[in-house]
């Protein structure tokens, strides 16, 4: 089980959190203008790196806030967490 450092509550067990997948996926500004390929890319395609991944978590059994984390999917090490709206930090 991961120990996830919530930026509001501090380190808590993974069981308190809800996973939100890849971070920084913006809703298209003009969805109707997208081609089928572009819409498919927005809807279905997400990064799947073996390495550092920027992802969303919700502390659903705690402060109930969403935040972002940089986690290495090859090791599960969390390099850092940051609040929504903050820029993605450079992975250490």
């Amino acid at each position: 089980m991961l120990l996830i450092p919530c930026p509001w509550c501090g380190p808590r067990e993974e069981a308190e959190f809800h996973y939100g997948g890849q971070a920084h996926v913006a809703y298209p500004e003009d969805p109707a203008a997208l081609s089928d390929e572009e819409w498919a890319r927005y809807l279905f395609f997400r990064d799947n790196p073996k390495g550092v991944f920027a992802e969303r978590w919700s502390h659903s059994a705690g402060c109930r806030r969403w935040f972002n984390a940089l986690r290495d999917t090859a090791t599960n090490q969390i390099h850092g967490v940051y609040r929504v709206g903050e820029p993605r930090p450079v992975a250490s």
């Binding site: 089980m1 067990e13 809800h18 996973y19 279905f44 073996k50 999917t73």
Partner: protein, 410 residues
């Protein structure tokens, strides 16, 4: 006279089922991944299509990834026509596979129960039974009393959190010994000339003018006329080296076995609502699978709270398991698609073929996908049963949504 050292009188090593090969400089077809799908594809390429200048590259040891980590459940009772087509094709091949490979597989058609725990489960299940029958897949709807007759150790009391309100039953479903399946395919493919190269990780796909020309590996460059990906959870990593993005997410999937017990469990029981699936191996272990860990990961281990939930579910369904001890837990990395159906077919690169996205359910498809994928590679066009599982369905919208259908746990 000095004592004989330990091991001095052991018998000779038995004949090997296949011989590890040194990589040649080129092959007609290179298959990336020596798991069940890669081995089956190699076998049917040689057997059905006469293509024998084939190498199977495996980064670890043959069949040591998800082929060694699955819960060996075989069934074909999927809702949608497209799924029923390919899984039923696989099941029919399973039914003749021991003869085909001339190898024991411990294939046991002991049936599978998919439990319903709510009115919506019941409706979905009955619908799926009817859909299965229309597709020629054997299926029955059982009430709780009939469920108890098929599997006496299931708790059918109405006074539990998720009472058993009935189940679908596919009598032709069952289990097989996963290692034997791999060995059987490997032996048969080797006899037809296929080469197996272990400890050979593909680090890059070589592409020239939109056509694949070979692979870079940890054991050197290998030229190839065609490259077939059977890399399961690592498909995204390999495909990315050719600039191909795929709608896949890699997650750990866990399973566990109990200590060896007397035969108590005569069939296979699956429950989506409480999320556990259980059978008893020939040797005696109770084999149980969980759901995937939520977060993406390439670690072949999952979180313990997933196991706890899985055990809680198992205990409610099978109170008799309360005193059983867990012997071993493990995880594998599975590649999951947005519609819980696989991707099998052509890729944006000529001569490069995709077989991925099987998520939690690839084992049961092993002979079927080997058959269809070999056809796809040999003819450079999808086998009719694989055609619905093209990559472009995510653009056209023709999804095969087994997430929304019942029996999505594999």
């Amino acid at each position: 006279m000095s004592p004989r050292p330990p091991g001095a009188d052991l018998p000779e090593h038995p004949d090997r089922l296949w011989n590890a090969a040194e990589p040649k400089s080129s092959y007609d077809v290179v298959i990336v991944g020596g798991g069940g799908h890669g081995l089956a594809t190699a076998y049917y390429l040689a057997k059905n299509h006469g293509i024998t200048n084939v190498a199977v590259l495996e980064r670890g040891w043959l069949a040591g990834g998800n082929m060694a980590r699955n819960t060996t459940i075989i069934r074909s009772n999927y809702l949608w026509d497209e799924s029923a087509g390919i899984y039923e094709h696989a099941l029919k091949l399973w039914e003749g596979l021991e003869d085909e490979l001339d190898y024991p597989l411990l294939f046991s058609q002991r049936g599978v129960l998919n439990l319903a725990h709510s009115l919506q489960d019941v409706r979905d299940s009955v619908r799926r039974v009817e859909a299965n029958r229309l597709n020629g897949v054997d299926a029955e709807w059982l009430d709780p009393r009939q469920v108890k007759e098929v599997c006496p150790i299931v708790e059918i009391s109405p006074d539990v959190r998720y009472p058993v309100m009935g189940a679908t039953f596919q009598p032709r479903a069952g289990i097989a010994k996963h290692d034997y399946v791999a060995w059987g395919f490997a032996r048969a493919a080797a006899a037809l000339g296929v080469e197996f190269i272990e400890n050979c990780e593909v680090t890059g796909l070589r592409v020239s003018d939109g056509r694949v020309t070979g692979v870079e590996t940890t054991r050197g460059s290998i030229a190839a006329g065609r490259v077939a990906l059977c890399a399961a959870g690592h498909t995204s990593v390999v495909a990315a080296t050719a600039g191909i993005d795929l709608p896949l997410q890699s997650h750990p999937l866990q399973a566990l076995v109990s200590e060896l017990l007397e035969p108590v469990h005569p069939t296979v029981v699956m429950s989506n609502a409480v999320h556990v699936y259980v059978s008893q191996a020939h040797k005696g272990e109770l084999v149980m699978g969980a759901g995937i860990d939520a977060a993406n990961s390439y670690r072949q281990r999952g979180a313990f709270h997933i196991i706890e939930q899985q055990m809680a579910a198992a205990l409610e369904l099978f109170p008799i398991f309360a005193r059983a001890h867990v012997l071993r837990t493990w995880g594998g990395v599975v590649d999951v698609t947005p519609d819980a159906s696989p991707i099998v077919g052509l890729s944006p690169v000529d001569g490069l073929y995709l077989n991925c996205g099987w998520g939690t359910g690839g084992f049961k498809a092993t002979p079927g996908v080997g058959w269809c994928f070999a056809h796809t590679v040999a003819h450079d066009e999808p086998h009719p049963l694989a055609a619905p599982f093209s990559l472009d369905r995510f653009v056209t919208g023709a999804l095969v949504d087994e997430h929304g259908a019942a029996a999505v746990a594999h």
